[in-house]
Symmetry: C2
Subunit: 323 residues, 2 copies
């Protein structure tokens, strides 16, 4: 679906699109719209909306749904907070930041993997020298040559595959259709997930949260994983059943977990996940605003120009799939 | 210098080399020698010695110096503990493990860099959720696109350049002669080190410890570094003047440090370096025996075969340069 160009009612010629910024009007976004050839306007007259708050689905429901805008640019990659509430419809085009954040999130995932594999996280918690024998006890090992299953082959998965490449891994990937991911030895449809999780050293979650992926990693899935395998979650906390993860960790069913997202979020003080030596929790920081703003700004500017010229936009959301 | 082949006194024909293992005779090393076509013998009759203890220069002085062996294989990459005591001479050929450990040590260096850049080390020390604002306060950032100076262009430096490549860095390198390192935008001779350290976000030490490199990173060098720059040391602790590093950290002269090696080693409990939030110390584990044993074994086997056939060996030490 391609958004129609904005046309002048009097002349019948293309005119610069009127673009609203909501709910917060950041001066940088205004500047970006103007430099890309757009005209700032109110929601009630807008051809398009740049939505600027990743955490305000209620505001979105109140404001955007009333607007005549034919295109809405969202500032985040995972649109689950809107899609799962039915706030996205097919009356207009939605674009997300999917793909933009891939390199940053993948870099964080790689950092967590190396941090766990090499004992860096364990040593960060020490204030005393420990002999290399101590490392062996920690299970420290090289990442090089290990087997990695990447669940989800969007921007994060593809970036991670590229970043892993110098470490000579075997990369398996899973997505909905089994369409091959560049860099993967094999890409399988998600129906094979239960088999593949048992064949790898690392399971990295990089898929969108949808009705189908919610709770996908539950007790049954953890039981299929190798006891030597690590779980890395840089996607959404709700893809994992937290109580089942805690049980798998407590029973030694998996080697450990590195989580940038949790369910619930924030993870409360005193939660069992804070207590495992083989667990790392980072507070949803694989992509912070500072890290993303340049790439996101460039993406939005390209989309505004494309919108003004009736060209295809980047990051179009499939409302039925929910991402 | 090429070691002469072992010849049979009676027939004048080549015979299998007699190889001694000292000071500890590991069964795996014996097996490796035999499978490579060597014959196990004592030090006093050996054509070659496989030295198996990385931490026993006194034993080396007592045992190896007496041997008629024409070739000595050392189990470590940095031969400073022997070279700086004058225990290596040009009467025979010494080979080290240099290059073998490069990928493992580089992987650890990358893990430490990502750990510091992305706040992973800081979060590993927390047991409470912190908002993304907290990350900004930690100075968390992407490694992607940063400027890295690699000091030393041997196996570690080259491996690190390859592992950094997907992170689109600007890599500067320094070595003795300025001979270009693959992957570096520019390789300069060490005489330019004092200028280059001021132009980068990361300074990674991956050079051998020699009389020339001892204490190379002192107060004057730290003053030339950017206040936003990180020091990573995966080489030898003595390349850094520890008191001057502590001073640079305490005064905010550099952004922080990730150290797999320290001076002294082990780093004593209560040492100031344990107390900085922006310092990570790992206890000389960038290459543990478990991580190295397969690659080192393969290198030694190739060298035994080459020695038996009078071919060039891998990892030959330049006794004058000390590495």
């Amino acid at each position: 679906m391609m958004p129609p160009m904005a046309m002048d009612d009097d002349t019948g010629l293309p005119r610069p699109p009127v673009i609203a910024v909501a709910p917060v009007i950041f001066p940088q976004v205004v500047e970006l719209i103007q430099s890309a050839g757009g005209v700032i306007g109110s929601l009630s007259e807008a051809d398009a909306v740049i939505w600027t708050d990743p955490d305000d689905p209620e505001g979105f429901a109140d404001l955007v749904v009333q607007s005549p805008a034919r295109w809405v640019q969202l500032p985040f990659a995972g649109v689950d907070s809107l899609a799962l509430r039915g706030l996205l419809d097919d009356r207009r085009l939605y674009t997300s930041a999917k793909g933009v954040y891939g390199p940053s999130v993948a870099e964080h995932a790689l950092g967590m993997m190396l941090g766990m594999a090499r004992g860096i996280v364990a040593y960060a918690r020490k204030t005393s020298w420990t002999s290399p024998d101590g490392v062996a006890a920690l299970g420290a090992r090289r990442l090089t040559g290990q087997r990695v299953l990447i669940v989800g082959t969007g921007g994060i998965g593809r970036s991670l595959a590229r970043m892993l490449e110098p470490h000579e891994p075997t990369i398996l990937a899973v997505n909905r259709s089994g369409t091959p991911m560049p860099g993967a030895t094999r890409t399988a449809p998600v129906t094979e997930l239960g088999t593949l999780v048992g064949q790898v050293d690392w399971v990295v979650l990089a898929l969108p949260l949808t009705a189908a992926s919610r709770g996908l990693f539950d007790r049954a899935m953890f039981q299929k994983m190798s006891r030597q395998a690590w779980l890395v979650n840089v996607a959404r906390g709700e893809i994992v059943v937290t109580a089942d993860l805690v049980e798998a960790l407590a029973s030694g069913g998996i080697a450990g977990a590195a989580l940038d997202v949790t369910d619930p979020e924030p993870l409360p003080d005193g939660h069992p996940l804070w207590g495992f030596p083989n667990v790392l929790v980072t507070p949803h920081v694989a992509n912070t605003w500072d890290m993303a703003v340049i790439d996101l700004g460039a993406r939005i500017a390209r989309n505004i120009i494309a919108f003004a010229h009736g060209q295809p936009l980047e990051g179009v959301v499939d409302v039925n799939l929910g991402y």
